[in-house]
Amino acid sequence: MHVDPEIIRLLAFLVGVIAFAALNAAYLVWLERKEAAHIQRRIGPKEVGPFGLFQPLVDGIKLMTKQLIVPAGVDPVLFKIAPILVMVPAIMSFVTIPFSETLVARNLDLGLLVIFAFASVNVLGLLLGAWGSRNKYAVISAARVVSQNVAYEIPMLVTVVTLVMITGTMNLHNIVMQQQGGFWHWNILNLSASPLMPVAFLIFFVCMLAETNRAPFDMAEAESELVAGAFTEYSGMGFGVFFMGEYANIVIGASVATILFLGGWDCPLGLFPGVHWFLIKMYFLIFTVIWIRWTFPRTTFYGLLNLSWKILIPISFFNLILTSAMLKVF
């Protein structure tokens, strides 16, 4: 029987992408707990396995064996569908991400657009879950999530448009290929295209924090204000899937930042490029995200919107105009 090798390749990648997303979600929880512990001068998980490395497995078993509680009064369809709506788009985005020159499931010409399209679905999942819970805290949280995401998608997309103007392509593979050959070729230091490139990276990073609902912008959970926000009524694996989705989104955000600004799989000194460099850069960004969470207090909701509308959006538009002017002149 003849099977098209392309189908086998796709199946292998599909399994690989799902495994990568699930493994990351599980072990980022471990990393988060361990890193938080060391920032707070504690030890963190250490009982299960060496350095507590089997803790995520045990947590997973615990979450999976818990009863799936659908509280009385909730909308059962929305309540059950919402965690999946957060998880699935996050995994789908992995399909277009090039981990190295050859390691990519589907190299699409509109890869960047696909990722941002799927990232927007994440909000919908949170909104439906919160609305379906019929919990006042969850509804407040849902309203926050939506306005937060609307506010932060604008500077993020304007920054990305600036970048696409420089690179002239939306193909993630090509974007990385243009940055090969050492850190001075990376887009973050592409000062000849726009002197504001480091600022653009900072804007992208801040927007990524806000888009993934990470501290100090974790308005959606805000445990001291909204108990658990959108997740208040969720327990067991419903909660677990939400969190896997959240962590998968962080991985996506860090990957996209690596690809767009930090040269993807390129080595800083131009030697031995490969998937390991991609992972190092990605995990460094994730480490920073966790670091920020355990250092800063939470902003307020209006402070968050003020930052976006009054600071980030004007700067990103200024950068857009500056870049187009420079592209025209030089």
């Binding site: 001068r41 805290y137 407040i140 501290a215 001291s224 800063f296 207090p297 402070g303």
Partner: protein, 372 residues
Amino acid sequence: MSAFAKSEANETFVLNLGPQHPATHGVLRVKLTMDGEYIVEAEPVLGYIHRMHEKMGENRTWAQFLPNTGRMDYLHALAYNHGYVSVVERAAGIEVPERAEYLRVITAELNRVSSHLLWFGAFILDLGGFSPLLYAFDDREHILDLLESVTGSRLTYCYFRFGGVYNDIDDNFVPGTRAFIKRLRDRMPMYHNLVTKNIILMKRLQEVGPISAEMCRKYGATGPVCRGSGINFDVRKHEPYSIYPEMDFDVPVYDQCESMARYMVRMDEIEQSLRIIEQGLDKLPEGPVMAEKVPKIIKPAKGDYYHAVETARGSFGVRVVSDGSNTPYRLKLRSPTFSNLSLFGEACQGMLLPDALALMGSLDLVIPEIDR
């Protein structure tokens, strides 16, 4: 908030904050009428852990009520000890040896520092920053160890007795306390650099949560709450008791009336308490720690007595009415946080939920003390 315009009545909804909510630090329930995220009306609902401490006092002998005092404000139990023994000593005319008074002040001030440290951690936790809590607890642990060596317990102290204190200090207490003072003084700049000067914290506390001086007077707010509103009132200075008149310390007063002012008052009070402890250790006289002629069964003369002390949260007053028997005829406790919480309903009108919770955190509520 200027952006706040009251909607029609049917557009508001009721949100129950508590009795189990992470921000209320205990079983406090606040019934909020909300318009979106704006608070239209807030009504604190008490009574979830009412234990009838006052009635209990009227049903047991004067001495038997002593352990109860440490179970109201469990974060500053020694000040409650102090208030109650002082009023009974005043009623029964018991003289306290000087060394005992020094030990009372030193331990009570150590306890105040531990209370402020816990508040500091819990307040930043309310604002979403988790890490300072564990650093503050690390420091607080040293105080608990010191106090454990003297009093025998770590939280609900019952150290003071009528006519003195239960136990003299051991040899390690004085050097241990001096080492702790040095340690905390070295750590305070770190707290200020990492937390006080944090831009997010400043944005969240400055010009947020106004409590005017009039409002403080109206509701009888005391302690750091009124000192953050520009009212210079501290029982230790203005109705001096024990050996506080001999101590050289300042009362930090800020007149910005905002959450940040109350934060700064408590942070400065830590340093002032350390000064008092240091002077107490320097001047600590030799001698007995218990008066000699204290009757086994205390029967104060008929009369009406009152004594107030300054706890970490404000002025705590005890009024006892004695009919000459071995139990109080009436025991009335005036707890500071009850008054401080009462102004929350008025202060948070028109505020956003996160700002109102920052305001509530800056009041430093200890629920078992509100619900005695």
